[in-house]
């Protein structure tokens, strides 16, 4: 079900696929010594053509914990800096490694890389479109903290137009029976019509609003995203929308006691530091869970779990 699969979009996976991933992750967390080094002798390549902290490093950590060696493409030091295409670069990496993790600013790059490569390709984020492994971590975090995903009310706040983590998370939620999804964004950053259409077809209850307070009062999970400065065609437009929503400790005083705040990180100014010490904070836990979830994912794709 997972072996040798490309991981391009969360939409390609069923609830059963995700449940299986989560149960392998549980096993990795609960019995780490039993896992051993099943990827000894394998090579994982990372090709990050866009900046990344958590995604690249947690993939690298995950691969190493499983015993694999990791090679990293440094775009500014590679022939890509001389103008070599992504296509040719991927062909080469495919000959060197057993698995490739790619991040690129261009939408559809991971799908294209998967078309070109024989070995599995994992999408570490392509432009504004997909970030499937982040969504897997987000869903797993909710399941771990709340014991379930079904029946919850989930708010997604911020840049729903350009934010790939937000889009993938929303798609991921549709694989479960959540009670309601609140989409909170300023109008210019509301989700693209393609996403709204899919949600309509999936028959999920959606509330689209600019009113953050009403969402905060109702939801079990608040998923906060950064406004994606780097994807705005017009910097002036970014400055106008920057700081539209800021999640603070004071705002969360209106929330349910057991509300959990998630954020794929990095944060800029949309999530105040004063939330860090509250029981609502779940984003550092989410970041930490990135490693075991990605260990499970790499192991499943390479067929050792």
């Amino acid at each position: 079900m997972w072996k040798f699969r490309d991981v391009i979009s969360i939409l390609d996976f069923t609830r059963d696929d995700l449940e299986h991933l989560f149960s392998v992750t549980d096993r990795i967390i609960e019995r780490p010594l039993d896992i051993g080094k099943p990827l000894d002798g394998k090579i994982v390549a990372t090709a990050f053509i866009e900046p990344s902290t958590r995604t690249r490093l947690s993939f690298e950590t995950a691969a190493k914990r499983l015993g694999a060696e990791v090679i990293n493409l440094e775009p500014h030091l590679s022939s890509m800096a001389k103008g070599e295409s992504l296509t040719d670069t991927m062909r080469m990496l495919d000959d060197y490694a057993n698995l490739i993790v790619i991040r690129s600013p261009y939408e559809g790059s991971a799908k294209h890389a998967a078309d070109v490569c024989e070995n599995p390709v994992i999408n570490g984020g392509d432009g504004t479109q997909h970030h499937p492994t982040q969504a897997m971590i987000d869903l797993y975090t909710i399941r771990r903290l709340k014991g379930r995903i079904d029946g919850l009310e989930v708010g997604v706040v911020g840049d729903l137009k350009y934010g790939r983590a937000a889009a993938s998370f929303i798609y991921g939620l549709t694989k479960f029976n959540v009670k309601k999804i609140w989409l909170v964004s300023p109008e210019p950053l509301s989700p693209r019509p393609e996403l709204m259409d899919r949600l309509k077809r999936m028959n999920v209850e959606i509330v689209k609003t600019e009113n953050l307070e009403s969402a905060v009062e109702n939801v079990d999970i608040l998923y906060v995203t950064r406004i994606q400065k780097e994807r705005f065609p017009d910097p002036a437009e970014y400055e106008k929308l920057r700081g539209s929503y800021v999640i603070t400790k004071k705002l969360l005083s209106r929330a349910r006691e057991d509300l959990k705040v998630l954020h794929p990180l990095p944060r800029v100014d949309e999530l105040s530091n004063d939330v860090d010490d509250t029981p609502h904070q779940a984003y550092f836990i989410q970041a930490k869970l990135g490693v075991p979830v990605r260990m499970a994912l790499i192991g499943l794709v390479l067929g050792v779990f």
Partner: protein
Amino acid sequence: MNDQETLRVSKIKNGTVIDHIPAGRALAVLRLLGITGSEGHVVTVTMNVRSGKLGKKDLVKVEDLELMTDQVNKLTLIAPTATINIIRNYEVVEKRSVKLPDRIVGILRCTNPGCITRQPMEHVSSKFVVVSKSPLRLECEYCGRYLEEEEVLKQLTQ
């Protein structure tokens, strides 16, 4: 039919007649079929003639060339009303209407400048799946963006 009309719609011996093209789109039809005139076929283009069905229509005749189904199906994008007549020895031997394919490869351009198909270095052909036939709505297989009918017409007729 007077002499002038006979001249306009005169029969061809062998080849393809594309009839019932929406008025004004005959040249776009030729462009979409990749017929430039340099292939050597006799090509007759008739535009804005009276039509009972369409009010006004265009007509294209390509002599000594039988267009294949895949080729003509692309025409649905700009000429969904078109009918294709295959002519052999002055007789219509086959009459087909065009049918929209499920997937359109390489003809249209994704409107998203960040799409991998728009990166000149990568040489990735555009691929669209048909989400809706009427109104026409296509979805880029790479970036997921929609391409609406208006944009399809703009790309193929301008």
